[in-house]
Every structure is written in structure tokens, then in C-alpha cells.
């Protein structure tokens, strides 16, 4: 059972307080978009073995959404950050790269 630090209320929240929201930083495609873009937005999801960026909501707490960078294999948590961003913070990416030199980097697998 994971614990993640909620970046809003500062609580080290346990998984029972949280609700997972899937892949982070999806770009929304609306009515004018191509079939391919819309399919990518609606259905296609990364499923990496290793570093993953995902959305969580502190649902049984402050109610806020946030982002987490986590290893899907070891469950190591590299950091949590604001939901109000379209990409992970630079400092966090540098921290992950330092811990996992083999990691190709954010978005490299897309």
C-alpha cells in the first residue's frame, strides 16, 4: 500500500486516502482534431516498466489532484508535484535521471 506526499496539504497520504487517475500530462483533443490524435488522447496509454508519471487525487483528504513520478517496478517515489502543469518539473527530471541513468528521459518512449 503506497504512501504519497500530497503537495497541497503536505500529508504523507496512504493509498486508502488516494484515488489513481492514470497517465499524467495527456493533451486533450477536441472536435476539430484528427481521428489519430483523438484516439491517442482517448485510448492510448503508456505502460512503462520503470519510471512513470501519473495522476492522483487526495480524495479522502484535501480533495486536490496532483502528479507523482514513480517506478512501476520498485514502487520508488521520485516526487510529487502540482497538477497545474503540462510537464514534470525540470528539477524532478534531473533527480530521476541521476537515480536512473539508464532512463531514456521524459517523453522519450512516446
Amino acid at each position: 500500500m503506497l504512501t504519497l506526499d500530497c503537495p497541497y496539504c503536505g500529508v504523507a497520504a496512504e493509498e486508502t486516502e488516494l484515488h489513481g487517475g492514470g497517465e499524467a500530462h495527456l493533451k486533450r483533443f477536441g472536435p476539430a482534431s484528427s481521428d489519430e490524435d483523438f484516439e491517442g488522447y482517448l485510448f492510448m496509454r503508456e505502460n512503462p516498466k520503470g519510471v512513470n508519471f501519473e495522476r492522483w487525487r487526495h480524495v479522502n483528504g484535501c480533495g486536490k489532484w496532483f502528479h507523482a513520478a514513480r517506478c512501476t517496478m520498485t514502487l520508488e517515489v521520485f516526487g510529487t508535484y502540482s497538477a497545474q502543469t503540462t510537464e514534470p518539473p525540470k528539477a524532478l527530471l534531473a533527480k530521476i535521471k541521476k537515480k536512473r541513468p539508464q532512463w531514456p528521459g521524459y517523453g522519450a518512449e512516446k
Binding site: M1, T3, G21, G30, P31, S33, F38, L75, A83, K99
Partner: protein, 1003 residues
């Protein structure tokens, strides 16, 4: 026979006799006994029948690893099957019965399976499923149902209560043997907050049984002193009868405390589930002895050597008068020495090794015990009890050299560390060739949130085999855990123990080496699931190379003991059959719980009324007093109808519909979701959330709106009222308020976070009452206050003011087709307002109605219901709701998806009304059948019923359904299949059955 020895038993209180019954027989034991020890003391060696072959089975072990001795415990509300006698504490009045036999333990019909064993090989069930279906239904299943299954399911409600405890510690130590005690001491000395748990009721584990000396003292003395030292530390808590059940992500541990199993009915909770969060976990979980695979190794009287020793020393029980010891290591000699010193007969020690010259064998020799090296057991003789063994060469094929009479066999195949808790969360194992066991690989430990190791194995659980090594390793583990948790360990030395020099064991996986097929069919690996050496070999021959597949195919290790005894032996046989090394084959996955835990403990207090919270409207109390028939809606209870004396539910519903249509109906609609959305960007936001345009709704007006997911599917509906320039009130479905609130929050927080919008869920702040029917206006006018005339408050308008002195918001909306006002008042005024409506409304025929009347009236009007007409695959276009999809808006959630080819397919089933030709009510969910079959050889289907009722207004069955090209087929008759295989004809009609022009609601 097995019997009680005089003056022995370190765990017994001989001054306190205890009475219990087994299969109705009254027996005696002592305080401190386990049920297993007490049964053996009463010569009750055989305690059950095996699962598949119904072979007689006896007690084999002395702890949690016991596979055979499972019994039904207790009676009525305290009845529980599959209780392990070796871990069940004896208490006065305990009742137990043996299980898995019919008609009796001594005489069992299912034992016939034993004689057809060659027809029940590995994969029997899989192979049988392939047989003709008829054979399965009429031959196999009845037989299996009669004879299979462990224990009986309890019939009565559990009489006990259970609870959950939460704990947050720096270091949790699991296992209270000398390793756990020392690890807890070392960690506690650093100041870390420590929790030490032990699954049994006593401390110290096996060390006292093995005669260990620590710091020059007998182990018992050292244990007492160490416990006293731990008790003196405020930062250390210790707990017996508490099993570390599972280790999970990020240092989460579940522990299972058997608080009152031995004192049933004393008012305390029976079990406690500890939910622990630990920075570091020390697994000092000990080791389990492996059986040896020889023919007849399951006959009652064949036991683990360590268990035989435990019974003698801990409980003063001799399991036999003449015991043959069979081993591949030195440790089993301790058992021979113990029994000999207790005055019992050891006819021979059979040692598979070429020589035995360590300290312990020499000690045995000095006691005059015969030792046969290089030998094996060719066969155990006996049926319900061992009568003797046949000896042969270990290197040979089993030619019998000699037969020796005995009534028990103590076997030892070496010891395997208990690595379960280490492995639960990803700790890896390493194969120790010398000890022939898997032990934790310290370099590949489970890692936590910070990426660092959070489990430290200690003592024999880490492969440290001798007492001295165990203590050094445990001391190191305790200090390492404290340090990793942020504390500084004290510079103290580990306690010193005398290490007995033990010679290397010799891995023996089958006895004798060249045993033939007949013998291998009598060598049990998994006692509980009846898996033999021959089964694993067959699986390998049939191509099962992966250990995980072999496990499932043979059911090896899948019983309630989870293969504690069978795992390594089965693995070794598989590896041998595949000509592979054991580490190459690997182990199966260790999964929690370590031993089964009660469902009650998992549920804790969450049962009965407090299983989940119950939400009550402000009018709930009135409903309870007025014949309510409840319907659960989410966490709410809503009145389905109100029954009057002598009335059926159906009659009540019809009365309520009729009265509402003719006079005046009152509905408690307080559960309706009420979300207020406000801010400068609220209009723009709602234009995205709803398919309709909401930004152009005028203040004082209401509009029915639809919400879709990004998949385009309809997810909720409700009436939106514009409160002021910046504020809208959104009504959601009763079950949907929280979900839609979260849905709005998600978009505001994660997509349009710069939009200035605030959403609050006011559902519980207001009571809402629908005042419905031709007399609705009259009752409000009589109550007085706000002008509710057609001119002042037209259909789909709302107003705020006083009604009968209550603070009211009045919405002129209708879900029934009648003249209708939905009135919300502050929750605190809800009940009084409801009462006032009844009082003043009496002369107008006021009568409460429930959800079923509501549903029928909406269906008569052709209004859709989320969850009936929708099921997560339905778009508004399917329901003829195109009028609610704004064409002016560039975008709304779901709009893009509704442009996809599948969504615009003209063959999507569309909503229509359905009228049976005979006036009957269509079955809910029934499908319309068309000629021909589809690609899966199923009948073609062209529609299905989504809502169906008897309409009291029209006095006939009415329904809505989705039908292929439905709206173009008005008047056509189609056929629906019923569950009794007959068909019913229905005509496709307009879904609006009542007041098609809407004149009644618009007066």
C-alpha cells in the same frame, strides 16, 4: 501409542487440568497445551482424512506449517472449520470434530479414491473437464461434491466481534524467537520505536527445545531476562499471539492477533487486525523442517523430527514408544537423544549420509543408539498408524535389508528459512547449496518509497543456522534496521552462545535414490492436497516446465498451508525431472497471508449497521413511521412506496401514482444532487460540462441538461437553474452528486485550472420536496407567500421567497408530466415544511409517494432514467435527445467522441416506446429476436427493453427500449424472448404514453 510423559513439558501448567472433546469424546489436557499436544497425549494420532484420496492422516508438525491436522472448532456462532490443532491453544470446554470424512473418521467411504489413485493423477480436474459434458454433470460432479472440500462452512452468524488496530513504528520485528528478541533489543537500545510480535503465546522459539546456552545461561533464563529488558523500555512494545501476516508496499504490515480464541465469549474481540506502518521491518521468522520423500511418509505416526522433540520437551508428550529417526543431517539426532533420555526406545537412526561423525551423532552413539548410515526407508508399514519400517540402501532401488517394528517415525530433510515475509514485497532469494535451501539475498531486498531497502532478515530466517550465528546475525539486523530508520545503534556486543559443531547435510529429495514408480506413488510432497512425487514427475513429462504452471497443474502448494512443507521438496523433484538446477527452476510466488486469517478480522467493525454509512434525508424519520418500503440508492435510503395496512407493494405504488395524477402527491426529493457552480467563468465551464448551452440561460430560468464522458457516453442528467449572473445550481441524479462533483473538480483542477470557477456540493444543505398534481398550486396558495401563479412563475422558471413562512426556492419543473413545483428549503426546515404540506394539503388529497411511482410516471411521459436507459454505452443521440445537444457550441465533453464512425452509425439501436399486444408487462432486459443467427451461432437480436412497468394510468404494460432503426418502424410488431422460452409480441410506438402535448404540466 502416544502418551503423556511424567514430569515433563516446559510450557505446561500441570496443576491446571483442562477438559475438551474431540468427536464427542471427553478428553483431558493441561493449561499450556495446544490442541495437537493434548490429542497426542490422549493417543489420538489420526485426526483427519486427506483431501483427494481420503487417506488417514495424523499430526505431522508442531506449528503453523501443519498440513494435516485441521479440525472443525466450536459450535453454532463460534463454529469454524480448518483450524490447525498445532496452533490452537487448549482451553476448558473446547470442542473439536475431525473433518473431510464420511460417515466417520475411522470408516470412510471416500477412501475408495485411494484405490483408484492411478485414475486421479496430476491434472485430474483439467483432464476431466475435457470429458463429455454429460459425464461431468451426472457422474463426476456429484461424486466430487460429496467427497471433496475441507471442513464445513459455518451456518450461523458469527457471535464474535473483531477490530482493527493502527500502529506507526520505526522498527517492526516479526518473530519472537531468540533472533527476534535480540533484534528488538538491539533496535530498542537505539531509542527507535519498536513493535515485536510473536505468533504463539510463548517467547524464545526453538532455542530452549534445542538446549541452547546463551551468555552461559540456559536459553529460558536468557529469554526471561531479555523480555524484562524489553519491558523496561518505553519505546518497545511486544505482543504474543500476533502473527506477522503480510508485508506490503512502503513498509505496510498486516499482523493478526488472536486475542480471545482461547477465551471464547469473554467479551473481548476475538481477533485484531493490526495495520502497521513501519520504517523498517526485521523478519526473524525462523525456519521450517522439510519432510523426506519415502514411501508411506504420510501414515499417521510419521512426523517431523523437530516436532517430535517439541512435543516431548514443550508439552511432555511422547508420540511413540519406539521411534525410528530418519535424517540427512545432524539436527535430527537431537530428537533421538531427547527421546532416549526420556526413557523411550530408539531402535535405529537411519542416516542417508555415508557417515555421521559430528558431535550429535557421537553423543547418540554414546547413549547406545544404533546408527545406520547410507541407509534409507524403503517403505513405512501400517495403515491408520505406523507399525514399522523397511530399511534399504539410500543409493539403491529399495531392496529391503531389514524390517524394524516401531510406532513412530521422526524424519528430517533439513531446515528451510521462512522467507515468506521477506518475499511478499519483492525480496529475492539465493540458493544455499550447502544447506540445500533458499535464503534471503541481502543485496536484493524489498525497497520502499525512497528506493532503499526496508526489510532486514534475521537469524535462521536469514540462513544463520547455529545459535551463536543466529544471535550475531539478529543483533546486526536490529542495529541495521534502527540505523536505516534514522537512529544510532549502541555499540554493544551480541550475546554469546555455544555453537554445536554440526556436519554438513546431504540433500536427499527422494528415498531411496532409485525408488521405482510404485514407491514414488506413495511419496507425499503436499499432504493437504495429496500431491505425490509421481504427480510432479508426470507434470514434468507432460511439458510443465515452469514451476508456476506445475503448481497449478498438480495443485502442489495450493492448499491452506500454502506449501510450507512441500515447496522445496516439490521444486527439487521438478528440477530433477527437468534436468535443471533448483535455483534455475526457481520458487513459486509467496503471497500473504502467511497462514490463513479470519474473514472477521479483515472486516473488523465494518459489519451490520456500520458496514457503510447510511445517509438520511431530513424527512427520513417521517418515512419510517408511515409504512415505508425502503429502496437503497447509493448510501441513501429512499422510500420505494408507503404501504398501508393490508396493501401489497404493487397496490401501494398504484395508489400513489393514481393519487398524484388525480389529486396531490408529495415526494421527498432531498437526495437529488445540488451542486452550486459560481464564478466569472462558470458559464463557460458549464458549456463544456453539459451538452446544452448553459451560459445563455437567463437568471430565473431552468433548463434540463445532459452530461457526457469524453467517450461521448451519457453519464448524468438534471435540471440547471441560473441563480444570478455568476451562479448556476446544477441538479444531478440522486446517486450521482459526489461523482459529478468530483468530475467537475477534476476538469477545473487538471485542465482548465486558470478558469475562475468554484464548485460546492450543497446536496445535504437543502431538503427538497416535489409538490405534484392538479392540486399542487392550491396547496401552495393556501400555505401562502410567494406568488406561484402561471403568470408569476411559468413552467421552467424558478423563484426565491417564503412559502408558508419557510425560506424556499421554488422550481417549476416536472418529472411526472403533472403541474409540479420542486421546493427546496434549508435542511433544518425540511421536516417542518413536509409536515405543513401534509397538514394544509389534506383537504386536497395530499399523499406521499415513493420512487417507484416516480419511475412509473416518468416512463408514462417517456422521460429517460440514467442507469435504466443508459448503461455506459449509450449516447444522447441513441435516446432521441439530439435537441439537447447544442449546435452553437464548438466543444463540450464528449462532442468529439460523438463524431466517431461507430457513434454515427445509423444501425445503432434507438429509443422507442413498446406496447405489448396483449397488454402484459414486458420482462426487464428482454431482447427482441430476429430471424437467423450471428457469427457466434446465437440468435440475431434487434433490440432490448430498458424500462418496463405496469401503468396504472393506462392500465396496461408500457415499456421503453432500444431497437434497431426503431424510430423509423413505428407501428411495427416485434417479438421479445421471455425466460420461459416463450415469446411476447410488442408494437413499436412513441415513447411518450401520457399527455403527449404536455398540457398538464403547463397550466
Amino acid at each position: 501409542m502416544s502418551t503423556r510423559l511424567p514430569n515433563a513439558g516446559r510450557l505446561l501448567n500441570r496443576s491446571k487440568a483442562v477438559e475438551f472433546t474431540f468427536n464427542g469424546k471427553r478428553l483431558k489436557g493441561f493449561e499450556g497445551d495446544t490442541l495437537g499436544a493434548a490429542l497426542l497425549a490422549n493417543d489420538q494420532m489420526m485426526v483427519g482424512r486427506s483431501f483427494k484420496y481420503h487417506r488417514p492422516r495424523g499430526i505431522i508438525a508442531s506449528g503453523a506449517e501443519e498440513p494435516n491436522a485441521l479440525v472443525n472448532m466450536g459450535q453454532d456462532g463460534r463454529f469454524e472449520p480448518n483450524q490447525r490443532v498445532t496452533t490452537t491453544e487448549l482451553f476448558d470446554g473446547l470442542t473439536a470434530t475431525s473433518q473431510n470424512h464420511w460417515p466417520s473418521l475411522e470408516f470412510d467411504v471416500g477412501v475408495a479414491n485411494n484405490y483408484v489413485a492411478r485414475f486421479l493423477p496430476a491434472g485430474f480436474y483439467y483432464k476431466t473437464f475435457m470429458a463429455p459434458r454429460a459425464a461431468w454433470k451426472h457422474v463426476f460432479e456429484p461424486i466430487i461434491r460429496q467427497s471433496a472440500g475441507l471442513g464445513k462452512a459455518p451456518k450461523d452468524r458469527d457471535a464474535d466481534r473483531y477490530e482493527h488496530f493502527y500502529a506507526y513504528v520505526d522498527v517492526m520485528v516479526i518473530g519472537g524467537g531468540i533472533a527476534g528478541l535480540q533484534a528488538a533489543k538491539a533496535a530498542g537500545d537505539s531509542g527507535a520505536k519498536v513493535l515485536l510480535v510473536e505468533q504463539t503465546r510463548h517467547w524464545g522459539g526453538r532455542a530452549p527445545v534445542d538446549g541452547a546456552k546463551i551468555d552461559g545461561k540456559p536459553a529460558d533464563e536468557w529469554i526471561t531476562e531479555t523480555l524484562a529488558a524489553l519491558a523496561a523500555m518505553d519505546n518497545v512494545s511486544v505482543r504474543t499471539r500476533t502473527m506477522g501476516s503480510g508485508v506490503y508496499d512502503h513498509g505496510y504490515v498486516l499482523a493478526y492477533e488472536q486475542v480471545a480464541d482461547h477465551t471464547p465469549g469473554d467479551g473481548r474481540p476475538r481477533h485484531r487486525l493490526w495495520r502497521v506502518r513501519a520504517k523498517q521491518i526485521v523478519t526473524a521468522t525462523g525456519a521450517i523442517e522439510r519432510p523426506l520423500s519415502f514411501a508411506g511418509n504420510d501414515i499417521p505416526g510419521v512426523m517431523l523430527a523437530g516436532a517430535v522433540r517439541d512435543y516431548a520437551i514443550n508439552w511432555g508428550v511422547s508420540v511413540g514408544d519406539r521411534s525410528v529417526v530418519v535424517t540427512n543431517n545432524d539436527d535430527a539426532y537431537r530428537t533421538a537423544i531427547t527421546l532416549k533420555e526420556a526413557g523411550l526406545d530408539i531402535p535405529v537412526i537411519i542416516d542417508a549420509r555415508a557417515e555421521a561423525n559430528g558431535d550429535l551423532p557421537n553423543q547418540a552413539r554414546a547413549l547406545g543408539i544404533r546408527i545406520e548410515t547410507g541407509k534409507a526407508i524403503a517403505k513405512v508399514k501400517g495403515g491408520k498408524r505406523v507399525t514399522g519400517v523397511a530399511i534399504c540402501q539410500q543409493a539403491g532401488e529399495g531392496a529391503v535389508l531389514e524390517e524394524i517394528a516401531c510406532d513412530s517415525v521422526a524424519m528430517s530433510g533439513g531446515w528451510s528459512p521462512v522467507v515468506h515475509l521477506w518475499s511478499h514485497c519483492g525480496g529475492k532469494l539465493i540458493w544455499d547449496t550447502e544447506q540445500a535451501h533458499f535464503r534471503p539475498d541481502a543485496d536484493r531486498s524489498p525497497t520502499g518509497a525512497d528506493g532503499a531497502a526496508f526489510v532486514v532478515p534475521a537469524g535462521i530466517a536469514n540462513g544463520a543456522m547455529g545459535t551463536a550465528d543466529v544471535l550475531v546475525d539478529a543483533d546486526k539486523a536490529g542495529k541495521a534496521a534502527a540505523k536505516a530508520a534514522g537512529f544510532t545503534a549502541k555499540r554493544t556486543a551480541a550475546p554469546k552462545a555455544v555453537q554445536v559443531d554440526e556436519a554438513a547435510l546431504s540433500p536427499v529429495w527422494i528415498m531411496p535414490q532409485g525408488a521405482g514408480p510404485k514407491a514414488r506413488m506413495k511419496m507425499w510432497l503436499d499432504y493437504q492436497n495429496d500431491v505425490k512425487v509421481s504427480d510432479v514427475q508426470l507434470a514434468a513429462r507432460e511439458g510443465y516446465e515452469s514451476v508456476e504452471h506445475t503448481k497449478r497443474y498438480t495443485t502442489l502448494g495450493m492448499a491452506t498451508d500454502q506449501g510450507k512443507l512441500s515447496n522445496i521438496n516439490g521444486l527439487a523433484i521438478l528440477a530433477d525431472s527437468l534436468n535443471a538446477d533448483i535455483p534455475q527452476v526457481g520458487t513459486t510466488t509467496f503471497r500473504p497471508p502467511y497462514t490463513p486469517i479470519s474473514m472477521g478480522a479483515i472486516a473488523g467493525e465494518a459489519r451490520g449497521e456500520i458496514f457503510q454509512p447510511l445517509r438520511k434525508t431530513p424527512i427520513h424519520g417521517w418515512h419510517e413511521k408511515n409504512g415505508v418500503y425502503w429502496e437503497p440508492v447509493g448510501h441513501w435510503r429512499r422510500p420505494y412506496c408507503f404501504q398501508r395496512s393490508g396493501e401489497s407493494v404493487e397496490q401501494a405504488v398504484h395508489r400513489e401514482v393514481k393519487n398524484t395524477r388525480e389529486n396531490l402527491g408529495l415526494l421527498d426529493a432531498s437526495t437529488l444532487g445540488k451542486l452550486v457552480v459560481t464564478g466569472p467563468d462558470a458559464g463557460r465551464f458549464l458549456d463544456m460540462m453539459y451538452t446544452n448551452m448553459m451560459s445563455n440561460l437567463k437568471v430565473g430560468k431552468c433548463r434540463y441538461g445532459l452530461m457526457c464522458s469524453e467517450n461521448g457516453f451519457l453519464s448524468d442528467d438534471g435540471v440547471v437553474a441560473r441563480i444570478d449572473e455568476d451562479t448556476w445550481l446544477c441538479h444531478t441524479t440522486s446517486g450521482g452528486a459526489d461523482r459529478i462533483h468530483a468530475w467537475m473538480e477534476e476538469w477545473l483542477q487538471t485542465e482548465w485550472w486558470d478558469w475562475k470557477v468554484y464548485v460546492a456540493n450543497l446536496t445535504e444543505q437543502f431538503a427538497q420536496i416535489a409538490v405534484v398534481g392538479p392540486n399542487a398550486r392550491k396547496v401552495l396558495e393556501k400555505l401562502g407567500g410567494m406568488d406561484v401563479s402561471k403568470e408569476a412563475l411559468a413552467f421552467m422558471e424558478w423563484n426565491e421567497g417564503k412559502i408558508g413562512g419557510f425560506d424556499a426556492r421554488v422550481y417549476r419543473i416536472s418529472f411526472s408530466g403533472e403541474l409540479s413545483y420542486e421546493i427546496s428549503v434549508p435542511a433544518s426546515q425540511g421536516r417542518a415544511f413536509w409536515d405543513a404540506l401534509h397538514e394544509v394539503g389534506a383537504e386536497f388529497g395530499a399523499m406521499a409517494y415513493g420512487t417507484e411511482a416516480l419511475h412509473i410516471m416518468r416512463a408514462e411521459k417517456g422521460f429517460i432514467m440514467i442507469g435504466d436507459e443508459t448503461d455506459g454505452t449509450i449516447i444522447p443521440q441513441d435516446l432521441g435527445l439530439n435537441w439537447a445537444l447544442s449546435k452553437k457550441k464548438e466543444d463540450y465533453l464528449g462532442k468529439r467522441a460523438q463524431q466517431r464512425s461507430h457513434m454515427t452509425d445509423p444501425n445503432r439501436w434507438k429509443l422507442v416506446g413498446l406496447e405489448t399486444l396483449d397488454g402484459s408487462v414486458l420482462p426487464d432486459g428482454a431482447y427482441a429476436i430476429a430471424p437467423g443467427n450471428n457469427d457466434n451461432a446465437q440468435r440475431n437480436m434487434v433490440g432490448r427493453v430498458t424500462s418496463t412497468y405496469h401503468s396504472p394510468t393506462l392500465n396496461r404494460g408500457i415499456a421503453m427500449g432500444l431497437v434497431l432503426h426503431g424510430p423509423d418502424r413505428m407501428g411495427e410488431v416485434i417479438e421479445f424472448g421471455k425466460t420461459d422460452q416463450t415469446m411476447v409480441k410488442a408494437k413499436i410506438v412513441d415513447p411518450v404514453f401520457y399527455d403527449k402535448d404536455g398540457e398538464k404540466q403547463n397550466v
